[in-house]
């Protein structure tokens, strides 16, 4: 065979190989471009970062129960780049009808750039009241310029889980609802024991994520900003008090030292939970999936009972509080099938929490269940775990807003000016406190100055 022919064949082969590699051989209906499928169904394309196995039941159930709509689920690998990938696809008008975001600052960024569709008209068309269905806390957070741009599908409310065996060995009584942060500290110190590598700590809270808990619960929505959003709010004494609280707990030997986190990758929630189930520490502040999902994993097999109690309060008699975060769905502004997309979102967020939310061991957001059967499936999945009292868990996590006030999580804000950068600056300062390179006062002072500079630049 002469060289010319061989080179042409080889080059053609490489080109074909490249094209084939870029092709999509997934089992999709004849169009995945947000139009109508070959059998006449309206197609809804849903992008999310949840792996396919966890969404299979949802996709199958929806398609079986909807003759006129075909749902196509497309995952984006869960990584720090997931949001930028999704935003790039949104900008490029990639066929997409429903998507999600990690936090409210992402939501606001997309709304500012006209990437998302307002939902109020669809709620009205379907005879639904947003605040009635999802609660006033969610309604407030998802309202931007007077309109709702996302629907929450899974709540994260926080409670304290504790290892009853460690408490029994230390001779410490179990905490009771209405306990205070001072009692939390005392208990953490009393149940800590041992020395060196085998020391059992009272808590193993991730400092970068929990140092602001008490400030956030005290100050409420938009805690990190002044009321008009023109500057940061880190000069409020609540922040220094909150930081000092966790720092003192570490200095007292009751909180695992932050300089020991890296070697065991304890910055990852899953790894901290694994350490809890190995008996490495006594208490943690967690949402439901840490208990019912991760607590059931074979790698986390444990022989002790887990107690659940509501979060502490500042002083005895104060109303109960918990931090409240959620995951949500949004409709893409360029969607070709908006009514069908809303139909899917309504089904996902309200009508079938048993196949959509319970599979993730998170709490449904709707204030009611469509049927008793669905409610029981959710309870059995989300709040049942060996060694845990379902009643205790239900009470700690599902008491209505009138019993336990839901305070939006620190990063769930309605003001989002330079939020990512302020949080980055916050992580930097806090890290230095828990590595004993700065005092809490110095860190808060620097944080306030730098955060204000970032907010001023962003404005």
């Amino acid at each position: 065979m002469n060289k010319k022919l061989m080179s042409i064949i080889l080059a053609a082969g490489m080109a074909v190989g490249m094209m084939a590699g870029c092709g999509d051989f997934s089992d999709q209906p004849e169009t995945s471009e947000g139009g109508t499928t070959a059998d006449g169904k309206t197609e809804v394309i849903f992008y999310h970062w949840t792996p396919i196995p966890e969404m299979e039941l949802m996709e199958k159930t929806f398609n079986e129960t909807h003759d006129d709509i075909h749902l196509t689920y497309k995952p984006i690998p869960d990584s720090p780049d997931a949001m930028i990938k999704m935003n790039t696809m949104l900008m490029a008008n990639e066929p997409m009808d429903v998507t999600s975001q990690w936090s409210t600052d992402h939501l606001q960024l997309r709304v500012e750039n006209n990437l998302l569709e307002g939902l109020d008209q669809y709620f009205e068309k379907n005879g639904l009241d947003y605040a009635e269905v999802f609660g006033s806390a969610a309604s407030e957070i998802t309202t931007i310029n007077g309109y709702h741009y996302s629907m929450p599908y899974a709540n994260k409310l926080y409670a304290v889980m504790y290892n009853k065996s460690i408490f029994d060995e230390a001779g410490v009584a179990y905490p009771e609802e209405g306990w205070t942060w001072d009692e939390f500290d005392e208990i953490a110190k009393k149940v800590s024991s041992g020395e060196g590598v085998n020391r059992v700590y009272g808590t193993c809270l991730m400092p970068k994520e929990t140092w602001y808990y008490r400030a956030s619960l005290k100050l409420g929505l938009n805690a990190m900003y002044k009321e008009d959003g023109s500057a940061s709010n880190f000069d409020d004494p609540a922040f220094l008090e909150s930081l000092q609280w966790l720092y003192d707990l570490q200095e007292a030997g009751a909180q695992k030292p932050f300089n020991e986190f890296a070697e065991a990758s304890l910055d990852a929630n899953a790894n901290r939970t694994a350490l809890f189930y190995k008996g490495g520490y006594a208490m943690d502040i967690v949402p439901t999936f840490n208990i019912s999902n991760w607590g059931s994993l074979p790698d986390n097999a444990h022989d002790f009972e887990v107690g659940i109690v509501t979060m502490p309060v500042e002083k005895k008699g104060d109303p109960l509080q918990t931090m409240y975060e959620f995951s949500d769905l949004s409709m893409v502004a360029s969607s070709k099938n908006k009514d069908a997309a809303f139909e899917f979102m309504k089904w996902y967020c309200i009508e079938r929490p048993d196949v959509c939310v319970a599979e993730k061991y998170m709490q449904p957001t709707a204030s009611y269940f469509p049927s008793e059967e669905i409610e029981q499936i959710c309870i059995d999945k989300i709040y049942s775990c060996e060694g845990v009292s379902t009643d205790e868990m239900l009470h700690a996590f599902t008491s209505p807003e009138s019993e336990i006030a839901r305070i939006p999580g620190f990063k769930f804000t309605t003001i989002a000016t330079a939020q990512s950068e302020v949080v980055g600056e916050m992580d930097k300062q806090i890290e230095q406190v828990f590595f004993n390179e700065k005092t809490p006062e110095e860190a808060i002072k620097d944080l306030k100055a730098n955060a204000d500079e970032l907010i001023a630049k962003a404005k």
């Binding site: 010319k4 080179s7 080889l10 935003n87 020991e260 890296a262 990512s420 390179e437």
Partner: protein, 315 residues
């Protein structure tokens, strides 16, 4: 008859030239056919993005706003960069990293290469052990070294304490020692690759030079400085350039082990670019930072090339 012969020769020469030209054209075409897929890939995925990056460095652009959100910003980004403490710190850290890592890497790689080039026991095994870090996954490397660097229970500090050093460093948990900690890993990982290059360079040195030097009474150290180093200088030049470029591009270690902290003690320029682009969506600003980095590397490489004549012995 003579004229006809002359004409024949002329015709034959012309014919030969024509055949040669066609042959060259055919070879060129064949070569391009082989090169084309790779070249197209290079242009689309490397060259064009570099050009776009240069252009975007002069704009203000939040990725989420789409192409319609691109605003020309002139040199505002660059002015802001040089007033930004974190960026300036990242430049300084990157320079510090390069100034330490490059000489140590090159020196160690050359020393190991000289030792291994000699006939020592288990030469292949030793060579493999030194080369292994280079081919190991950076994430796995980061995890292992994080454990080694544990300030309270890690083996390194345990050994230091056992030999009487009380004030052991905090390594990646301390601003003072975090960057040196990364430098150690950087040298450890890169030495193997450059050692292999030096071994190849050493094997090109004629043995007769060493024999002549031995006859003249030169010792091992003199041979090393008077023969080995000058003769291996082309390889050294190549290694230096690559090592400098590699050290300016340090990113994975920082991302997996320290994320620029504690504080900004390990913030390097590439990580700063990543942070601005990926986490804060400030594409234009990130591109301008990458232009600054490119200029630094370009200037250093240009200076090296310019002065290479003075010390690179082409033999």
């Amino acid at each position: 008859m003579a004229t006809a012969t002359k004409l024949d020769r002329h015709a034959i020469t012309n014919l030969n030239r024509l055949v040669a030209k066609r042959s060259i054209r055919r070879s060129t075409l064949i070569g391009w056919c082989f090169l084309l897929p790779s070249f197209i890939g290079f242009v689309i995925f490397r060259f064009l993005p570099i050009i776009c990056s240069f252009l975007l460095g002069f704009t203000e652009w939040n990725l989420v706003s789409g192409f319609s959100g691109i605003r020309f910003a002139g040199i505002d980004n660059f002015i802001e960069l040089f007033h930004n403490d974190t960026f300036l710190t990242s430049l300084l850290n990157t320079l510090q990293y390069a100034v330490i890592v490059v000489p140590f890497t090159v020196a160690l790689a050359l020393i190991f290469a000289v030792i291994i080039n000699d006939k020592i026991h288990c030469r292949s095994l030793v060579r493999l052990m030194i080369y292994m870090p280079y081919i190991s996954s950076m994430v796995a490397v980061a995890m292992v070294w994080t454990s080694l660097y544990s300030p309270n229970y890690g083996p390194i500090n345990s050994v230091l304490k056992s030999i009487g050093i009380e004030n052991v460093p905090g390594w990646i948990t301390s601003s003072n020692s975090a960057l040196p900690a990364l430098m150690i890993i950087g040298v450890w990982q890169a030495v193997g690759y450059y050692m292999v290059l030096f071994i190849a360079g050493l094997q090109c040195i004629p043995a007769s030079l060493y024999e002549a030097a031995e006859i003249d009474g030169a010792n091992a150290i003199q041979c090393f400085f008077k023969i080995t180093i000058p003769m291996v200088s082309p390889t050294t030049f190549f290694v230096l350039i690559n090592c400098i470029i590699g050290s300016f591009n340090v990113f994975t270690l920082v991302k997996t082990m320290t994320t620029g902290g504690p504080g900004d003690s390990t913030m390097v320029t590439v990580y700063y670019v990543y942070e601005q682009a990926v986490e804060y969506n400030k594409i234009g600003y990130a591109c301008s930072a990458s232009i600054i980095l490119f200029l630094f590397v370009f200037i250093i490489t240009f200076i090296q090339l310019k002065f290479s004549d003075r010390w690179v012995h082409e033999g």
